[in-house]
Amino acid sequence: MDYKDYYATLGIQREATQDEVKRAYRKLARKYHPDVSKEANAEARFKEVAEAHEALIDPERRAAYDAIGQRRERGPAFEPQQNGDQDKAFSDFFESLFGRGRGHEAAAMAAQGRDHHARIEVDLADVYQGAQRSILLSVPHRDAQGGVTLEDRRLDISIPKGLRSGQHLRLAGQGAVDLDGGPPGDLYLEVTIRPHAPFRLDGADVHVDLPVSPWEAALGANVKAPTPQGEVQLTVPADSPQGRKLRLKGKGLPGKVAGDLYVTLNIVLPSSATDAAQQAYQALAQAFPGYDPRTSTQEA
């Protein structure tokens, strides 16, 4: 496990005051907050920043962390126990020092109710066809001695077709079990559709680039185009400019209002490496003696 330099993460000195910790955190939180940020890896960066803030804003935690830092300068690397868990709020390093993070959501959940939130990734094909998925939940369980242990529980769920990224699924009664016998809460799963090259999603619409040759674009052609449901025959209209978007209505994500599939033509030039290719390009040039792409008005 790697030692984490929380001061470097926040860009502050070790001697920084608590106010400076707070100021640095707020500035970086605005920059990397996943809801507002355009930065790449905003979510991962925000997690680091939030963890550093959580560790340093509390004077007791900060003192404990500083003590580790000083020991580390003198001796071998700090090596606490490792345990993997991708979805938790803070790193193994943080938890080995301070235990499980007291994140906002965990605190709110304990106080307000027993509905749980988690995330689920689904494939593009699942969105088109619907699917069954197994998810693994860690649920608290009261044992014979009255203690509470965490138990893995597998849940088979049906993924309805027509989901959009960012939507939520609700599984009634699959939230936290009430250890005192009350009704269980609900489980909410936030859906992310896994990227599936060459397709890109924009809400319900699906986009894909389609390479075409110059003569296909100029003369028109029938070509095969990929869609998430398999290849289709597509008519490329004659005189198609570079970047022309062809819309296949209703071939985007299914749903009450199905999305569209947009195929963007990308004109690809064959290499002029052979003599024959050279001659072909020269013949093309001779066929358009007055053509200047920098002054000709090209249709959009």
Binding site: R26, A29, R30, H33, D35, V36, F46, A50, H104, E105, A108, M109, Q112, G113, R114, D115, H117, Q132, L136, E151, D152, R153, R154, L155, D156, I157, S158, I159, P160, G162, L163, R164, S165, G166, Q167, H168, L169, R170, L171, A172, Q174, G185, D186, Y188, L189, R200, L201, D202, D205, H207, K245, K256, Y262
Partner: protein, 105 residues
């Protein structure tokens, strides 16, 4: 120990198939009553019904409420500012869509 389940749970799509009462929304989002009332006052949430006991919230209210709470907590701002941020973000998304930057998520 994982247990075997023969049963497959049907999942509801919250944004399309779920209506929340006031207390449902509080429980599902982790917000307290005052926070949800605040978001209604800010005009971010638009429940149907006159009094809180009759309020009914559309499915997307869950995501909006959770996002508003995240913003207030993680950026250390008030509900009014969070509502403003969310309105501006909606505007940014709409403008981007009009620019035709298809393909960006």
């Amino acid at each position: 120990m994982p247990k075997l389940h023969a049963y497959v749970f049907e999942a509801l799509v919250v944004e399309e198939q779920v209506i929340f009462t006031f207390s449902d929304l509080c429980r599902a989002s982790g917000a307290n009553a005052a926070q949800v009332k605040g978001l209604v006052e800010e005009g971010l949430l638009h429940p149907v019904g006159d009094a809180p006991e009759q309020w009914q919230f559309s499915g997307p209210s869950l995501k909006q409420t959770r996002m508003a709470l995240r913003l207030t907590h993680e950026l250390d701002i008030g509900l009014t500012a969070a509502a403003l941020v969310m309105e501006l973000l909606d505007e940014v998304h709409a403008l981007r869509a009009r620019l035709g930057s298809g393909g960006r998520t």
